[in-house]
């Protein structure tokens, strides 16, 4: 659907429309109000509250925005700032929340485009929005600065998996995130672990800043992609836990842009002239299919299918919202991703359907059959998704049986 010049905005019927969204022509003002309305609907609880007894304003809760500096998180940032401005104007300087924004600086692992420095971007944002928001920049390396974070990666699971990178971590305290990532060959797993690290840094920041909520900039398009990519990675059980609004680790998480499409967030950033702040590390999806990550694939899939079936994104998000959270009360957490995990030995499920024994030889009958792996009581729990992710192509325990020549060459031959 293309916009013909002179088409009036369908909302105000006065200004000329400059953008078509969901088949409706919008002028700038109406489009901005339309998107802000979507965000405010999700955050209706963050109003200015007055104490009924004294009618003095209550202390506003602190919320932390996970600011990746992509178009979507940036547009959410702008919406929150505008909401704060409005609240202060209406309520004599009082507001319904206090805004913090944290950006995880990934330049240690994935460099930003040349000349771009997230710290200076944040600094210029701080100057522009100083009164409304506190911005924090956390280098991704901070993950190992705090010894408590390290615990996630410390476990001994030698009976099932090749977690050599995990063992390296325990050798001394100077392991960096790029050390960990360079030990993971599979790109999907690498970016998965990086995301886990990023999210745990955001959580740490929220705790440090005493925020009671974290807001994430994921749009409806991104949530649909995540639903499918979590499914494809064997992490289906945590979809309701991760992708719906709710408490995780004692902090309320919400997705205010869950009804906004990615293209709309991008247009929002363009219209309000804040695209100079968009700062993305240069992780280019490769052109070779084999090298793509599962998320790259799903991004492409939705971009393609959306043309023929426009309602698909909202259908997927609505369906995901109907799934019930089965892991919320699980007693164990995965030692790697930290998410709750109700199956404490997913490797058993896998061993049944991915047999790793040779055909019986003629002289030794049944000897190998049914050797149940002895269960170590102290073993850390690893969820199915991490079990698969930490080895990528082959299943984790396979290589522990015997090193193939290929693996040995790979490890020891100098290239």
């Amino acid at each position: 659907m293309t916009l013909e010049p002179g088409t009036p905005c369908r909302r105000c019927k006065q200004n000329a429309a400059i953008y078509i969204s969901r088949k409706e022509p919008f002028c700038k003002e109406c489009f901005v109000r339309f998107l802000r309305g979507k965000q405010r609907k999700q955050m209706a609880d963050y109003k200015v509250c007055y104490d009924p007894a004294t009618s003095s304003p209550q202390i506003p809760p602190r919320i932390l925005l996970a600011l990746s500096l992509s178009e979507s998180s940036l547009s959410l940032f702008e919406m929150l700032v505008s909401l704060l401005h409005e609240q202060r104007k209406m309520h004599r300087g009082n507001s319904g929340f206090e805004l913090f924004a944290v950006h995880v600086d990934q330049s240690e692992v994935y460099p930003y485009p040349t000349g771009v420095d997230p710290k200076s971007v944040l600094e210029s944002m701080r100057q522009a929005y100083n009164e409304t928001c506190t911005t924090v920049c956390t280098p991704v390396g901070d993950f190992f600065a705090d010894t408590r974070s390290l615990r996630h990666f410390q476990h001994d699971v030698s009976d099932i998996a090749d977690y050599s990178f995990v063992k390296d971590l325990t050798l001394d305290g100077t392991v960096t995130v790029s050390d960990v990532l360079s030990n993971i060959r599979d790109r999907t797993s690498k970016l998965d672990i990086l995301q886990t690290i990023r999210e745990s840094l955001v959580l740490e920041a929220a705790k440090k800043l005493q925020c009671t909520s974290i807001v994430w900039g994921d749009t409806m398009s991104r949530l649909a992609e995540k639903t499918l990519s979590l499914t494809a990675k064997g992490r289906g059980s945590v979809i309701p836990y991760i992708l719906s609004d709710g408490f995780r680790n004692g902090i309320y998480n919400l997705y205010p842009l869950r009804e906004v499409l990615r293209a709309e967030a991008e247009e929002y950033v363009r219209m309000l002239n804040i695209s100079q702040y968009v700062t993305k590390p240069s992780i280019k999806p490769p052109n070779v299919l084999r090298m793509m990550t599962i998320d790259d694939l799903l991004g492409n899939y939705f971009a393609d299918v959306e043309k023929g079936f426009p309602s698909i994104v909202s259908t997927v998000v609505r369906t995901a919202a109907k799934l019930t959270d089965q892991v919320a009360y699980a007693s164990d957490n995965c030692a790697i991703c930290g998410l709750p995990c109700d199956d404490t030995s997913p490797e058993r499920w896998l061993q049944d359907i991915t047999v790793n024994q040779s055909a019986p030889s003629h002289d030794a009958h049944d000897e190998q059959d049914k050797v149940a792996p002895s269960k170590d009581e102290e073993k850390s729990v690893i969820c199915y998704g991490c079990l698969v992710a930490t080895k990528g192509v082959t299943f984790p325990w396979i290589s522990t049986m015997r090193y193939s020549k290929e693996e040995t060459l790979d490890e020891y031959e100098l290239h």
Partner: protein, 363 residues
């Protein structure tokens, strides 16, 4: 029979090409024999005996851990003559003998009446009957549904939606075939790729009625007297192809000539790509699907309410007054009657063509 001298890579496109230089000299499982193929599910380079062993053992594990069969049970095997059901029949015969399940398998085929597809594949099933020494029962749409074959149905309703008819009819036909044989359990050849595809399709279409149940290995519903199970649920399609190829099984490989909907095609393509990126993606999707749960509003109450009754027309178990097959059949018959009245002796297609020609005439 000696093994044919074939290159290590079978002539299908399904083997994942090696990532780095493939120089390992022995099978990764037995460390003894020469590797013969790269296993699609894991990427391991293994020999043929080890491939047969793991493939069969995984199906055996699926059967035993889910307690699919009991001793003395008679089980119908939905046989289309295609690779999945042929491999299923062969493997079940092998496992039944090797592990002494004590189960009697009977081949059950449905003749949808599709020329150039089902007639040829049924010949394969008839040979399978001899090869595997199993009884065979063939049920045809024509005899069950007022003389309608799938070809007739497509001729009347066109190429759209015909899978709906075929799906409803086949489901009932399998049940009726099983009942005719006095059997209460039908196994089908659905493989891991089919399962993964269904999980994604249900997510993409928002089909919450099926999303959490579609991965169940045994399905039993109120409106069917026969339970279904899928022993090949975790078997990769590519491995089924390889297994059938190396075991030289006699199967028929043609897709249904009335090909499926475009949307399903996109899901299939997606799975193919996911598998290339991460070979375990197929079982990972099934794993995810198995953990999906949906809140069912007063599910128990609804089941009670759904009293088992029988269709007023055909007597088949149905949750409604008239079963779904009879509803579809009614529509078809109404269409046929109309054609007979209007078209008199003429072929309807010819009449239409004449009409079109007349429209374009100008004076």
């Amino acid at each position: 029979m000696p093994q044919p001298r074939e290159p290590a890579q079978p002539p299908s496109t399904c083997i994942v090409p090696p990532r780095s230089v493939p120089l390992s000299t022995t099978c990764e499982l037995c460390h003894n024999r020469k590797p013969y193929l790269r296993r699609p599910k894991t990427g391991q380079k293994i020999c043929q005996p080890c491939f047969f062993h793991v493939f069969e053992t995984e199906i055996h594990n699926t059967i035993t851990s889910r307690k699919l069969f009991y001793r003395g049970e008679r089980v119908a095997l939905g046989a289309s003559g295609g690779k999945d059901s042929t491999v299923l029949a062969y493997v079940l015969k092998v496992l039944n003998e090797r592990y002494d399940y004590g189960v009697e398998f009977v081949l059950l085929s449905i003749d949808e009446g599709i020329k150039g597809y089902r007639d040829d594949s049924l010949e394969t099933v008839k040979r399978n009957k001899q090869q595997y020494d199993m009884a065979l029962e063939i049920v045809s749409y024509k005899e069950l549904y007022d003389d309608w074959s799938m070809d007739d149905i497509v001729a009347q309703i066109g190429n759209r939606n015909n899978c709906t008819y075929c799906g409803v009819f086949r489901r009932q036909a399998l049940d009726r075939g099983a009942q005719k044989l006095g059997i209460k359990h039908v196994v089908t050849g659905h493989n891991a790729d089919d399962m993964a595809e269904t999980v994604l399709m249900n997510l993409l279409r928002g089909d919450t009625a099926r999303l959490d149940r579609c991965t169940a290995i045994i399905t039993q519903s109120a409106d069917s007297p026969v339970k279904r199970s899928k022993p090949l649920k975790y078997a990769y399609e590519k491995e089924i192809v390889l297994y059938a190829h190396y075991k030289k099984l006699d199967y028929f490989s043609t897709e249904c000539i009335y090909s499926p909907e475009a949307f399903r095609g996109t899901a299939r393509a997606l799975i193919k790509n996911l598998e290339t990126v991460r070979p375990s993606a197929i079982i990972d999707i099934i794993r995810s699907g198995e953990t999906f749960a949906l809140e069912r509003k007063s599910g128990g109450a609804r089941l009670k309410e759904l009293k088992l009754r029988t269709c007023e027309r055909c007597g088949y178990i149905s949750s409604n007054r008239i079963c779904k097959a009879c509803v579809l059949l009614e529509g078809l018959n109404a269409g046929r009657a109309a054609v007979q009245v209007n078209g008199a002796e003429d072929e309807p297609a010819e009449g239409l063509a004449l009409h079109k020609r007349l429209e374009h005439l100008s004076f």
